[in-house]
Amino acid sequence: MRDAISWFAAAAVAFFVTAGAFLLLANLGGSREEQPLSRPRPTESGPLLRMELREDQLENLEHAPDQRLEVDLSNTGADPISSVNATVKVASENTAVPETRFYRAVVDKLKADETKTVGFEVDLSSFEYPTDASLDPAAGPPRTILEVRATTPRGASAIKTAVLPP
């Protein structure tokens, strides 16, 4: 009986000593370059690029080609922006319409606290619908969506969307 207890105790000691050694090694190895698992935080304190799409000009737009659309781009950061890539997407509210119109402009060099206006000639004429069945009379004629995006090479971005009445 005494032998059995001694064997059991010895086996337990051997097990825990081995486990402890592995735990010790694991702690030593893991403490060198441990990083917190929190999400990476943005490096910039706020937006550097601001965009304005004036509502008063939108009210004067017509459903016709060659409509002038102006967008104000401002650098609200302390550093200059080398360039801004601005795109305008004109789409129907009706998602069955396959056509989407894209327009692009590039603004070079935007100094700190500087605002530049970029203009687009956009086609706001009516879209063609694949079938009459895609149109619900109760919903009224589909509206036109204007979506303007601006991005800088360093990743700052701004977006504005407006829904124009039919």
């Binding site: 005494r2 207890i5 001694s6 105790a9 010895a10 337990a12 000691v13 097990f15 825990f16 000593v17 486990a19 402890g20 735990l23 010790l24 694991a26 702690n27 893991g30 403490s31 441990e34 917190p36 698992l37 929190s38 999400r39 799409l53 509502e55 939108l58 009210e59 789409a91 129907s92 509210e93 009706n94 998602t95 069955a96 396959p98 694949p130 079938t131 009459d132 069945a133 895609s134 149109l135 619900d136 109760a138 919903a139 589909p142 969506i145 979506e147 701004a158 977006i159 504005k160 969307t161 407006a162 829904v163 124009l164 009445p165």
Partner: protein, 390 residues
């Protein structure tokens, strides 16, 4: 004795060594998961959740049997959304011209309707809905005026158009007629609803400006007329067969009055030709219902309507057993669709989905991509309807 104490010491030491390293190491902070943003008030009251976003005229929302998927029609094509992943799959081509969609019994197939040339008639299609991206659809029937799924199976009960009458038929999943009901119904069918046991059907028809309700015994094939409106009155949408009787919305049609006023009516399930329908007073004297839908258990009625002529439309839930009417939404500036298929229950009866958009006519510039905007477009909203009024 000495040996026992020695053993105890060895065990204590072993435990101390074994527990080494199990204490708190350097703390690692894990940021909490972001709170779901669409749980805020979206214009229909707290707790209402947007199920869809972005442009597109959505309608006919329908939960899958497991409540994990939602199908709906958008601009004439069918879309299925996986509610756990948010993935959208188009189930038909964009030029399909779908009018409504419903799930099959096992959630594998969708029934899609597409309007035909004849007024009010539509074709029935079945489409696979297994997420495989297969947009193949099969035409299963044509010339259908109204259809409903038979409870507990994948069969459909469809009302077919005749010259002046409508014929009911039970269709198998592939469209094969398994039973044709030879007793015809006068007029063109406008809606059909089945009793919870699937043995009887309640069908509304329109004929020469009059609307009628018929109960069809699907086992015996017998037909009895249970209601007929006065001239100039119409029945809105499909009548509903509930545990507490037959419910329908009827009132002056637009042709006879500029602002139509409707009432919710009730008939007992065993009503005959001489039974007079009673106006359901539980919803209030001035209440104007525009759409109703019975819950899966048949004990509640989702009612879309206005408390009075000048109040906004809201969703209410009427407990049919005790007559309690609970308000489910608090709408101020949303236009809620009132089409017969635009109101649906979840299969468990915990929520109701509806379709709505903001009524604003002014141009507003938003700092959001179009596909994230909800209020400006017709989108599907889930309204929790359990524990209302608590």
């Amino acid at each position: 004795m000495r040996s026992r104490s020695r053993t105890s010491i060895i065990l204590v030491i072993a435990c101390v060594i074994g527990l080494a390293g199990c204490g708190p190491a350097d703390e690692v902070l894990i940021d909490p998961a972001p709170v779901e943003r669409d749980r805020t008030d979206l214009g229909l009251g707290p707790g209402v959740r947007a199920m869809t976003a972005g442009p597109g005229d959505k309608g006919s929302p329908s939960y899958g049997p497991d409540d994990e998927r939602l199908a709906f029609v958008m601009d004439g094509y069918v879309v299925e959304k996986d509610l756990s992943t948010g993935t959208l799959d188009r189930r038909t081509t964009k030029d399909f011209g779908a009018g409504a969609v419903d799930w099959g019994h096992y959630g594998e197939k969708l029934t899609v309707t597409a309007p035909e040339g004849e007024e009010g008639a539509f074709a029935l299609y079945r489409t696979q809905s297994d997420g495989s991206g297969d947009m193949g659809v099969t035409l299963i029937s044509e010339g259908v005026l109204a259809a409903a799924r038979v409870p507990g199976g994948s069969d459909l009960l469809a009302a077919f158009a005749g010259e002046t009458q409508s014929t009911l038929a039970r269709l198998k999943e592939d469209g094969e007629v398994s039973r044709l009901y030879t007793r015809k119904l006068d007029g063109s069918a406008t809606g059909v609803s089945l009793s919870p046991d699937g043995h009887r059907a309640l069908t509304s028809t329109r004929e020469d400006g009059f609307f009628s309700l018929y109960v069809v015994d699907l086992l015996e094939g017998s037909v009895r007329q249970v209601a007929r409106t006065e001239e100039g009155k119409e029945i809105l949408g499909a009548p509903q067969w509930t545990r507490e009787g037959l419910y329908y919305v009827a009132g002056e049609s637009e042709a006879s009055e500029e602002t139509p006023v409707y009432e919710l009516y009730r008939l007992p399930a065993d009503a005959g030709a001489n039974t007079r329908a009673e106006i359901v007073s539980d919803i209030g004297e001035d209440f104007i219902p525009s759409n109703i839908r019975v819950s899966p258990e048949g004990d509640r009625l989702a009612v879309l309507g206005r408390r009075s002529l000048n109040s906004p439309a809201n969703l209410y839930v009427l407990d049919l057993e005790n007559g309690d009417l609970q308000t489910a939404t608090s709408n101020e500036n949303m236009e809620i669709k009132t089409g017969p298929g635009d109101l649906a229950w979840s299969t468990g009866g915990q929520s109701v989905v509806l379709v709505a958009r903001a009524m604003s006519t002014e141009i507003e510039v938003q700092a959001t991509p179009a596909d994230k905007i909800t209020a400006d477009f017709y989108n599907v909203y889930e309204v929790p309807v359990e524990d209302l009024g608590d």
